[in-house]
């Protein structure tokens, strides 16, 4: 309870600091626009911004959703048997370390600056993160669970559907990493060719040194990403009502009691 109030204090402190620095003209207006000017920019541009926000949010969430599905499928296949692992591990582990942003030129070369190119990029990078997470979660489930399910007559697919997949839900913190990643890649991909989006808005504003609009776009992306993270967490928590509090704390779904 108290910790939450400290959080509010920190936020207010930062806000006051921002107002003070920009209000006292400690830096040029251009370098740090005041909150009032940022709100002013929203006031002027709101019809565009509503559209841009929807476009960016939609792109990131669609890519994230598709990537999670892909990752879930890959993770399950990799854990299914040695053969699939042999095939897929190499692919996943060689795609994953390459920053997706570095592949943007190729994506544009192949598919043009299209929505398809952007979604493909987001999907692939989220997919690899989720695949590794799902694979590790499945293979570290207590082996007694697998043995008990076998003894009780569950088929291979029933074992996955009814035992392994439900049990790994609290451990899927990779979903949260993937969601954050999807926003990062979305904005980068938008820089390179999506006029009507928050990324595009930043590019447009950059040309006219309209820093308050850039700041505004940054804030909106931040809010979107944060809201997505909170939503994922609350869904995971809802699906993990069976888990002990210590398990939830272990995977960051519940606050652990502090030592003092």
């Amino acid at each position: 309870m108290k910790a939450r109030w400290f959080g509010v204090l920190t936020t207010m402190g930062l806000l006051i600091l921002w107002i003070a620095i920009s209000g006292l003209r400690l830096t040029p207006e251009l370098f740090l626009p005041s909150p009032a000017r940022v709100i002013g920019s929203l006031w002027i541009n709101w019809p565009d911004i509503v559209y841009d926000t929807a476009a960016t949010g939609g792109r990131a969430l669609l890519g994230f959703a598709a990537g999670s599905m892909l990752g879930l499928g890959l993770g399950v296949l990799m854990s299914w048997n040695r053969l699939w692992f042999g095939f897929l591990d190499v692919v996943v582990e060689s795609v994953r370390p390459v920053p997706a942003v570095a592949a943007i030129p190729f994506m544009i070369l192949w598919l043009g600056p299209t929505l398809l190119a952007q979604l493909l990029l987001i999907t692939l990078s989220c997919g690899c993160v989720v695949a590794v997470d799902v694979y590790i979660a499945i293979t570290t489930v207590n082996p007694l669970m697998v043995r008990a399910a076998q003894c009780l007559g569950a088929s291979r697919s029933a074992l996955y559907r009814e035992v392994l997949l439900p049990i790994i839900v609290p451990r899927l913190s990779g979903l949260r990493i993937a969601a954050a990643l999807s926003f990062a890649i979305t904005v980068a991909a938008e820089f390179a060719g999506a006029q009507w989006s928050l990324g595009g808005l930043i590019m447009r504003a950059r040309r006219s040194l309209d820093t308050e609009t850039i700041m505004l776009a940054m804030l909106i992306v931040g809010v979107l990403a944060r809201a997505t993270d909170l939503t994922i967490r609350s869904i995971l928590r809802r699906l993990s009502r069976w888990a002990e509090p210590t398990t939830l704390a272990l995977y960051g779904l519940e606050r652990r009691e502090h030592l003092s």
Binding site: L144, R147, A149, Q150, C151, L152, G153, A154, V169, R241
Partner: protein
């Protein structure tokens, strides 16, 4: 079900854990297995269940050679193996579901089985909300609720962590369940009184590498009740069992790690 173990041996790397174990069980026989810690009891049950391979020897059930795990054998492990994401009732229904029983029918069966062992009020609890003793009881019900055909039951120190009273109570529940739907049971235990009280026959194993050193037939008629626990006859049997185990134990000076 007739289980036949012949010349079963198992080593991990160079360590012999089981050496030339042979025994048989009759249909619907309750066989207890006792032996010193580390003699390979868990290993033996895992091999019978099909989770591990023997180095040599064979296991057959009703004449069929066994190699991999199957739903004709059911192991209750030393550690809890309840599904953490399923409630008590759903855990118990799991095996019935995969036998193809309809949801209405299996729900009825699960509820009455739970009521019969006094777990009725804990139907909707998740495993982490139950006590250790209750968890074991749920696991036992989850196994014994499967009948027609009842799988071979392999129990690895199922009651080892319970207090004396709960353990005695659970033994009575097990006897009742077993008499209601008889099945072949291999019951590994450290508790000699439990072995004498529950089993039709006791197999005594030597220290590692484990092998069968003696067999005791328990003559007491069923149903057995708690009067038997303190009876002279049972205590005499228990003493014999103790001596058999003690005789097989090497002197302190001869003991060295495997």
């Amino acid at each position: 079900m007739q289980l036949r173990i012949s010349h079963l041996s198992k080593s991990f790397q160079a360590n012999a854990i089981l050496s030339d174990v042979s025994f048989e069980t009759n249909d619907t026989e309750f066989v207890a297995i006792v032996g010193p810690s580390g003699c390979g009891k868990t290993t033996m049950l895992s091999i019978i269940a099909g989770f591990e391979n023997a180095t040599s020897g064979s296991v057959s059930l009703d004449g069929r050679l066994l190699s991999s795990a199957g739903s004709d054998r059911l192991m209750i492990f030393q550690d809890s193996a309840l599904f953490p994401h399923l409630t008590t009732r759903e855990n118990i229904e799991f095996g019935l579901k995969h036998k193809g029983m309809t949801s209405h029918h299996r729900r009825q069966l699960a509820c009455s089985a739970l009521d019969a062992v006094g777990l009725g009020p804990f139907l909707h609890y998740f495993p982490f909300q139950l006590s250790g003793g209750m968890r074991k009881l749920v696991e036992i019900v989850r196994a014994t609720i499967l009948t027609n055909p009842a799988p071979l039951l392999l129990c690895d120190e199922a009651l080892g962590q319970l207090d004396a009273l709960t353990r005695a109570h659970t033994q009575d529940v097990i006897q009742r369940l077993w008499m209601e739907s008889p099945r072949t049971v291999l019951w590994v235990t450290h508790d000699l009184e439990e072995a004498c009280y529950c089993a039709d026959r006791i197999i005594v194993m030597s220290p590692r590498p484990g092998t069968v050193t003696a067999e005791l037939t328990i003559p007491f008629p069923r149903p057995r009740d708690s009067m038997l626990r303190t009876s002279v006859e049972l205590q005499v049997l228990r003493r014999r069992l103790f001596d058999l185990l003690d005789a097989a134990e090497p002197d302190e000076s001869e003991r060295r790690p495997a």
